[in-house]
């Protein structure tokens, strides 16, 4: 008994790609046929795609990478100080979001955040001094140090970091704590209010939270995120449910403590007042998962999507730490107050790490409350999620979408599928003002640039063993 016998026993169900007339001819016979919306891939990629189709290690490599990614079990275990866990910060370096970049190429919000970090660290007294100093400092992507940061993603030595540990392995990932909305460092704001808040986070929020978490024990982030999707979060732009769930997890520990009551109530109030508090923790959980999938030979699985405000970069499992970049696109979205598209900086932040694990734009069907970011409808959100299944390798075993009969979110982007179909990842994101110090000007949806997938696929093909 082979599959071939089975084919000959039953009326076939046909999928067609190419000449639509041939699908019509099958339909005209009363037979079952699905015509695919095949489009030619960008010219110049035929050879690379063929080599990757021949690459014997690709299918197995993707299966292996995907498996490694999905078996991780990210748990929030601690709050630490950045300089204690990231040695690179000790030699006067600052971390930032996205692929590598130098000061000269930095956009307004990234410069603003770097200036703010220098002021916060007390290395300069005025923004002008801070700017001069920041321009001379070495910069390094968060991604190179097991960390992620939203928007500008700047990490300086004194900042508290959340520690996410893999309960099913030994991986670890870090993220900063979320400052809230409005004028905040991650959007490039650096005035006194911003620096003041960062100091409060260092001196009050971090130790209070650290005590609560240590007393509570590790918090299972994957389960928490999965629950939040059932409650209308997408895990990127809407983290209201996840933040509420987080507060429930640590609430008792905050109450049951012997430190000054004001610190504990302030901490509670701060988290309660910031619907995005969980975003950074979701990002660290995602970073932990994709890092586990990195470095599998032949695998075309995407292990990072990140933007530094100037360039959009991706990494593939099979090409390890290499970045493939394209100019960061401008976000199509809705603007706060009287801001307009003219005020918007190109896309920025490590937060697209959520999309690489099947959240954010990939989980939009779970989050009808945010569909308006694309000026669309609930139906449009479902369609966007459905479209992402075209470029992913799996359905997430934990992240499920109630309205799609609990189908797992599309997870594990295959760069070859992106190039073949021209369907690019949809990313839900915030929009930073392009002038340093402006802060958030809106939120919306952005499409990852196809170019970086093309160059990534070509580079992977060059490693193919034929």
């Amino acid at each position: 008994m082979t599959d071939l016998n089975a084919l000959l026993d039953v009326e076939p169900v046909v999928a067609t790609a190419g000449v639509e007339l041939l699908a019509e001819a099958i339909r005209a016979q009363g037979a079952r046929v699905t015509h695919t919306d095949w489009r030619p891939p960008p010219s110049g990629t035929e050879g690379a795609l063929a080599e990757l189709a021949l690459e014997g290690r690709r299918a197995e490599g993707n299966a292996e990478a995907l498996h490694r990614m999905l078996v991780t079990s990210p748990h929030l275990v601690d709050i630490v100080t950045a300089r204690d866990v990231i040695p690179a910060l000790a030699d006067g370096r600052l971390l930032h979001a996205g692929p590598p970049i130098g000061w000269d190429d930095c956009s307004g919000p990234l410069r603003g955040a770097l200036i703010g970090a220098v002021l916060y660290e007390g290395m300069a007294d005025t923004p002008e001094e801070a700017s001069t100093l920041a321009a001379s400092m070495a910069l390094s992507p968060c991604h190179h140090h097991g960390a992620v940061g939203p928007m500008a993603g700047v990490v300086s030595p004194s900042m508290p970091l959340a520690v996410v540990h893999d309960a099913a392995g030994d991986g670890v990932a870090y993220a900063t704590l979320n400052e809230g909305l409005g004028k905040v460092l991650r959007y490039g704001a650096f005035d006194a209010e911003v620096v003041e808040r960062l100091r409060w986070m260092e001196h009050v929020l971090a130790p209070t939270l650290r005590r609560a978490i240590r007393r509570r024990g590790p918090i299972d982030l994957q389960t928490l995120i999965a629950q939040a999707l059932q409650m209308g979060d997408d895990g990127h732009n809407r983290n209201r449910a996840a933040t509420s769930l987080f507060l429930r997890q640590i609430g008792a520990m905050l109450i049951d403590d012997d430190t000054p009551g004001e610190d504990r109530s302030d901490t509670y109030r701060f988290i309660d007042g910031n619907d995005h508090f969980m975003l950074n923790l979701v990002m660290a959980a995602a970073k932990l998962s994709v890092d586990a999938a990195s470095g599998v030979a032949g695998a075309s699985l995407v292990t990072a999507m990140a933007r530094n405000g100037t360039e959009f970069g991706i990494r593939l499992s099979g090409t390890g730490d290499r970045w493939f970049t394209a100019p960061a696109p401008v976000v199509d979205g809705l603007f706060l107050g009287s801001y307009t598209a003219a005020d918007a900086n190109p896309d920025i932040g490590d937060s697209a790490i959520t999309e690489t694990v099947g959240l954010g734009g990939f989980a939009m069907a779970a989050s009808p409350a945010i569909v308006g970011f694309v000026g669309g409808s609930a139906a449009g959100a479902v369609r966007r999620t459905m479209e992402m299944y075209e470029i992913t390798l799996a359905e997430h075993p934990s992240f499920r979408i109630p309205i799609l009969e609990d189908r797992g979110t599309p997870t594990g982007i295959d760069a070859t599928l992106v190039v073949r179909t021209g369907v690019v990842p949809h990313i839900n994101t915030g929009i930073a003002g392009k002038e340093p110090g402006t802060g958030m000007v809106g939120a919306g949806l952005v499409e990852a640039p196809l170019e970086c997938f093309v160059t990534a696929v070509q580079a992977l093909a060059a490693t193919a063993e034929l």
Partner: protein, 480 residues
């Protein structure tokens, strides 16, 4: 400039909705600035930054809705307030879209998962066909590759991969298949029946199907294997797979194996496989004048114990005598051309397949050199029509021979396309013979097409071999 900030209590909207409303209101003509937002501290500050007077709104709470509008005149303000009302109103059910309408699948792999497909038909340009076909195999689909211009090393890899997974790879350059009675590519509408065909030849399969159909014998499967399957390089991989599977299908009573001229060593292997079959097998490996599709079909029908009468032909009261000159043939089917060439060459000597040849020539307009970047002549007849027109006015033309292929996938009315050119040739005294490859139930109507072709002035034969023989016979005897 008029500026107003209204505060409504007890009306909560989510921030996304309000951002949309803000955008709609700001787009109203004459509106300078607008903001519709819940009165959170942040939003109140943003309102101040936008130049609104927040002192006038007094004490507000985060649960209050603020509607701030600055417009050039009262008319603009009114229009803006109307836009706010529309924006905040509930969506009408009529605007609901079908939430679950899935976007189309972009790859056959995706269609396999969403539609349960078990067979892929790939007809993308040849340079892309390999990747799509591998995708089909990777998702457990059998695959038919209609595309030509696929590198031979890719064909080999596909067939090896398919073989190792128990999946059939039909093609590349597989024009025709019938699986479980469903015609794929160019296929004739034949009845379900006891015969199964394995064919490294699209029009070879079609011709067999049509002849069997004329004798009332149906076809259960016709597995195309691709024009190069019986080459030395490919080694008959798919043909051998197909023969074994057809032999194991309890509903198949007789198998016909057809191919363009095969590589001799591969032919031996195919013959060995046929020997091992439990069921009767007819082989038609073309290349000799005595091996014809008609002959194979006749033997098959006889083996099933059915009568094989004379095949239909539609002849003229009087066919013009050839004015002398050379044979000109215009085919859309490669195998029909090859068969005709062997038969004609037996009668008139050398017959070229080169479109530029001076002497007798039979050209396949479905060949790879004619299909790069354009549709097959069975779909788009324009190149062949031009060639027919040229030949009809060429004094060297002695007899014209062409095929007309009917069935699913083919041109809806090929007879009407060529009829004027047949009339043109007939009007100049050039005999025209048509090899009509059609089944009774074909959507174009076999008999209707035959009648139209005959009425235009052509002799029409259902058997390609008969048509070729007739056309060659119409030429004056070659001088010794």
């Amino acid at each position: 400039m008029i500026s107003a900030v209204d505060v409504l209590t007890g009306r909560y909207y989510d921030s996304v909705r309000l951002m949309q409303v803000t955008r709609d209101v700001a787009a109203v003509g004459g509106v300078d600035a607008a903001m519709v937002a819940m009165a959170t501290d942040l939003n109140v500050r943003l309102l101040a930054d936008a130049g609104f007077d927040i002192a006038q709104i007094g004490d507000v709470h985060a649960d209050d809705l603020m509607i701030a509008i600055r417009g050039v005149d009262e008319a603009a303000m009114t229009a803006a307030r109307a836009a706010v009302e529309i924006g905040l109103a509930s969506r009408r059910p009529a605007e609901y879209e079908s939430v679950f309408s899935a976007p189309p699948a972009h790859t056959v792999g995706s269609a396999a998962q969403t539609a349960g497909a078990n067979l892929a038909l790939i007809s993308v340009p040849g340079t892309h066909a390999f990747v799509e076909a591998m995708d089909a195999l990777d998702h457990g689909l059998h695959v038919m590759i209609f595309s030509d211009n696929v590198p031979i090393e890719h064909e080999l890899h596909l067939k090896q991969t398919g073989q190792s997974r128990g999946l059939l790879v039909m093609g590349p350059d597989c024009g025709t298949a019938i699986v479980g009675g469903v015609g794929l590519g160019f296929a004739n509408a034949v009845d379900p029946g006891p015969v199964a065909i394995s064919g490294a030849s699209g029009t070879g399969i079609q011709q067999l199907c049509c002849l069997l159909d004329a004798w009332g014998v149906g076809v259960r499967h016709a597995l195309g294997t691709g024009s190069r399957d019986l080459s030395a390089a490919v080694g008959g991989s798919s043909t051998l797979q197909a023969i074994a599977a057809l032999d194991a299908d309890p509903a198949v009573e007789l198998i016909i194996v057809v191919s363009k001229p095969p590589d001799p060593s591969v032919a031996v292997r195919v013959e060995q496989a046929v020997e091992a079959c439990r069921k009767p097998v007819e082989i038609a490996l073309l290349g000799e004048p005595c091996v014809t599709l008609e002959g194979a079909a006749r033997r098959a029908v006889a083996a099933l114990g059915k009568p094989a009468d004379d095949l239909p032909r539609w002849v003229l009261d009087q066919t013009p005598d050839s004015p002398g000159g050379v044979l000109r043939g215009f085919f859309s089917g490669g195998t029909l051309r090859d068969e005709a060439r062997v038969i004609a060459a037996d009668l008139v000597g050398d017959v070229s397949i080169d479109p530029a040849a001076e002497g007798h020539r039979l050209v396949d307009y479905g060949g790879e050199q004619f299909t790069r970047g354009r549709a097959h002549p069975m779909i788009d007849p324009s190149i062949r029509l031009q060639a027919l027109a040229d030949a009809a006015s060429d004094p060297a033309t002695g007899v014209m021979l062409l095929d007309a292929v009917l069935g699913y996938g083919a041109h809806p009315d090929p007879g009407a396309e060529v009829a004027p050119l047949i009339e043109l040739a007939a009007g100049r005294g050039i005999p025209v013979v048509v090899s009509l490859c059609g089944a009774r139930r074909d959507p174009q109507g076999r008999d209707r097409q035959a009648t139209a072709l005959r009425d235009a002035g052509a002799e029409v034969y259902l058997s390609n071999a008969a048509a070729a023989h007739r056309a060659a016979s119409l030429l004056p005897e070659p001088s010794p």
